[in-house]
Symmetry: C2
Subunit: 267 residues, 2 copies
């Protein structure tokens, strides 16, 4: 397989740097081709602004979605954005690796999403009708590809558990896993999350490294998170509500969007 790893830590001599090298080495040992986009090392620009759209008239009102759709269509996106889109299309698997800062990704990686996910590429794809509401949530440009997160957190695993004070890690990552990765079509694999990373001894590191190697070995086979496909019948169109007969009526929150029948079958 072809794997793109997008890396968003400013220090190569960090735990994140070590984990990246372990992941890349294991992927290569398995015969995969790997490209790494090292955002800090490459001086990635984080902000969506007018400079991203050189063909926009200087006096035109800047509408980000419209400008990005037009620039994609007339091939006038900036070279840094085009290069990342080409890598995304090249790869069978996308890995986003980052330290969890304030319960989300660092700004530089958010800026990679904001700028690379053009209108017509990652959103604004497909037709709207009484049967379909665009190609998104399980369909779209990146359908058939896989994606996963590698995340490090300073806090304790218990603090991110079902009743932990930070909120459950799967819910904290839902806006990324479902909203950023599943949206343009990726099959999203369960994340690799390393906890308490500031207090890691050698044994802890080796255990973590072996777990990560195992995850890299099963990248092509592990079952994805069983999110419900938007256009496969589970949602009403155009209100995009989950059909009333699906899910527990008392259930609230993100887990409604999991097809638990599939999950059980996969485990």
């Amino acid at each position: 397989m072809k794997v793109l790893l997008v890396f968003a830590h400013p220090e190569p001599r960090s735990l994140n740097g070590a984990l990246r090298d372990i992941a890349v080495d294991e992927l290569k040992a398995q015969g995969h081709e790997v490209q790494v986009s090292d955002l800090y090392a490459e001086g990635w620009k984080s902000e969506v602004d007018r400079a991203d759209f050189p063909s926009l008239a200087p006096d035109a009102r800047f509408k980000p979605a419209k400008a990005s759709g037009e620039a994609l269509a007339d091939n006038s996106l900036t070279p840094d954005v085009k290069a990342e889109q080409e890598k995304i299309l090249w790869a069978d698997v996308l890995i986003l690796q980052f330290p969890l800062w304030w319960f989300s990704m660092p700004a530089i990686l958010k800026g990679w999403i904001d700028r690379v996910y053009s209108y017509g590429f990652a959103y604004g794809v497909g037709e709207h009708s009484d049967k379909r509401w665009g190609d998104r949530y399980g369909e779209g440009t990146l359908a058939g590809k896989r994606a996963m997160l590698i995340v490090t957190a300073g806090g304790w695993e218990e603090h991110y558990s079902a009743r932990g004070v930070n909120g459950p890690i799967d819910d904290l990552l839902f806006p990324i896993n479902h909203g950023i990765l599943y949206y343009p079509g990726y099959d999203v694999l369960p994340p690799f999350v390393a906890y308490k990373v500031d207090r890691l001894d050698d044994t802890g590191f080796e255990t973590m490294a072996e777990h990560l190697r195992e995850r890299m070995r099963t990248l092509g086979t592990i079952a994805p998170i069983p999110y419900r496909q938007q256009n496969a019948g589970d949602y009403l169109i155009p209100s995009m509500q989950l059909r009333p007969e699906l899910g527990d009526p008392r259930e609230t929150g993100f887990t409604l969007h999991l097809n638990k029948a599939i999950k059980i079958a996969a485990e």
Copy 2:
């Protein structure tokens, strides 16, 4: 009151720009003092990197949390970060205004959080013992102040409702409201969210504007989201699990962290 509005849209001639002006005008009409941090206009730097810590030795391994704590302690943070921390301390109310991009804030605003929220300022505050786990989640540097979000979304309100395909808006915003605003001590007000903003006619705009004015008039009085305080007895220490007798045992997700008794009293 003193109000700081942090604005993160690249185009002043946008709906966001118009809503900002409406909010600021109404606040001033109510006699409040207002400062605006216009991140795009000011060329805000989004990335946490070594340049943020001029006193860090050139050959030292860069550890972001440690470097930020040391720079706060020896007063060597960069002038742009110091200026924003001073505005935060000046303000009784913080408003973050942004377009919802990929179910979160634009990179430039995430970079404002990542850089301004220093260790020792917004986290790493207070002692850890068998009674307290730091000053966070309802306590901390910013306790006694209020904060709220002003958010615009292209999608439909139904798509962000309890059973909508995007996930409920309150859950999508939880990592920000609870994880970024409540964490350092703010009382977090319900967000102002504008939907379907790309298809707004004049009537729709005026309704939205009046709703926003009303929210600005009640900034000091509206009841905050009733998140549970970490150190007030609801959580076990140090596992930081919600006590087993609290919340519905079948409940999952972020709503567990709301004290519903308070919410009902406030409504």
